[in-house]
């Protein structure tokens, strides 16, 4: 890391750093994990220079550790992001960001006539698959297929 970058993004002692988020997706990630409503210190970098992406967003969250489940959900928004676990200012683990096979209870079904909207006993449940390079989600209940964008826009 260059000195220049150091000055722009403050280091954290313990927590999680999500790096390589595509530019303009950072706020969606915050919303997805409800980090826009937390008492912990969150540092956000938007439109930072990136050799791989041109521009990227970056999020540092103090005292919050991401598990694999969260990393899988993150994959829907930012499949090339990296998730670093920080302890005592050091990166102690990198969580793999891989697409989940299923995603439960995160997004409501975009089909307003889907039974999941009126039945409290079930949570939304989507199968995740890639078709022609695009990530798609298929509702287990109403069987409708949605693009990743349609679902994550509401996150």
């Amino acid at each position: 890391m260059t000195k220049d970058n150091h000055l722009k993004v403050e280091a954290i002692k313990n927590g999680t750093v999500i790096d390589h988020i595509p530019a303009n997706v950072g706020f969606k990630v915050l919303k997805l994990f409800k980090l826009d409503d937390t008492a912990e210190r969150v540092t956000i970098g938007l439109n930072l220079p990136s050799s791989a992406l041109g521009k990227k967003d970056l999020i540092k969250i103090e005292n919050v550790l991401f598990d694999e489940q969260r990393a899988k959900r993150l994959a829907l928004l930012a499949p090339n992001a990296t998730v670093n676990k920080i302890e005592n200012y050091q990166v102690v683990a990198k969580l793999p960001v891989v697409l989940p096979e299923n995603i439960k209870g995160v997004f409501g079904c975009a089909n307003t006539n889907c039974i999941t909207h009126v039945e409290p006993a079930v949570e939304s449940h989507f199968g995740v698959f890639v078709k022609d390079g695009d990530i798609q989600l298929k509702c287990k209940y109403c069987e409708k297929v949605f693009s990743r964008e349609v679902m994550t826009e509401q996150a």
Partner: protein, 309 residues
């Protein structure tokens, strides 16, 4: 070994295999040839229509009674706890399924039958239609009727006409026919009601051919099956409807040049998309198709509730 449909939920056509579809078709033929009045003896089956549907409900209930079973249920949600007291579907299913051997249901929301299958204990759920999503027994009776009239479910030339965008019947039937071999599809619809891309993709993925046409006449001489559906007036403004309507109405004259084995099918009810002069031609088979609904549903219920038949 129990038959593969024994105790199985019947929710959606794509999850049934070719072998399972053939088993229902074969069994329907056997029951039509030789009635089996005791296959559901001592069984009680729920027929719960959270949304009214006269034909489907009466067809299911006739099927149950013809096999010696008994029916409980309701024809619409109006006077039920679900409709009146706001009981959830999950709770309704939990309770009613504890009374019965199988649970037949129709519901206005998509996904309702799958949800029900998660709350029915081990009682099989049979989807009689969930919103715009699936109506698998309609497809089973369509397949049975095609098999009965053509002697096969492979190597067929099938045209689908009318509302191919919103019609779940034509979607499911196409999906089912892609499980067989070498079927050829002709899709004939107004542009705004064209077959959705995801169904066209499935036809392609199955290695089958399809083409899109604007009139029935141009393909009539190729066809084994002409599957008609209704173009609903409400989907167009008046002048637009007047303009497109005639292309999607089948009359005796439209059938000129058809092959002898052609059969015209329609899920019914028809309004004016098949003129009554077609009824008396040897091609008309939609009323027999409706009757076949009883045999196809008998076959399905018998297979779901008997290890062997």
């Amino acid at each position: 070994m129990p038959n593969p449909l024994y105790k199985k939920h019947i929710l959606s056509i794509p999850e049934l295999s070719r072998e399972e579809l053939e088993l229902v078709v074969e069994t329907a033929g056997q029951i039509k040839a030789e009635p089996r009045p005791t296959l559901l003896q001592h069984k009680v089956i729920a027929s719960c229509f959270f949304e009214a549907s006269t034909r489907t409900r009466l067809s299911f209930e006739t099927s149950i009674q013809r096999l010696g079973g008994r029916v409980i249920g309701f024809p619409d949600a109006g006077n039920t706890s679900a409709g009146k007291k706001g009981e959830t579907l999950a709770d309704s299913v939990r309770v009613i399924s504890s009374y019965v051997d199988a649970f037949v249901m129709r519901h206005p929301r998509e996904g309702a039958a799958r949800l029900a299958s998660e709350f029915s204990g081990r009682v099989p759920v049979i989807n009689g239609g969930d919103g715009a999503n699936q109506h698998p027994t309609q497809t089973l009776l369509d397949l049975f009727t095609i098999y009965e009239t053509q002697g096969r479910l492979d190597n067929l030339h099938i045209a689908m006409v009318g509302d191919l965008k919103y019609g779940r019947t034509v979607h499911s039937l196409t999906q089912a026919l892609t499980k067989f071999k070498n079927n050829r599809f002709y899709f004939i619809a107004p542009d705004v009601l064209a077959m959705p891309d995801y169904i066209l993709d499935q036809v392609k993925e199955a290695g089958m051919e399809y083409s899109i046409h604007s009139t029935m006449e141009e393909v009539m001489s190729e066809l084994d099956i002409l599957y008609m559906t209704r173009v609903q007036k409400e989907r167009f403004d008046e002048s637009e409807y007047a303009h497109i309507k005639s292309a999607f109405i089948l009359s005796g004259q439209t059938l000129e040049g058809a092959k002898d084995n052609l059969k015209v099918l329609h899920p019914l009810p028809r309004v004016d998309e098949i003129t009554v002069d077609v009824d008396s031609t040897p091609y008309a088979y939609y009323f027999e198709q409706a009757e076949n609904g009883v045999y196809a549903r008998q076959a399905l219920l018998a297979l779901v509730l008997n290890e062997e038949i």
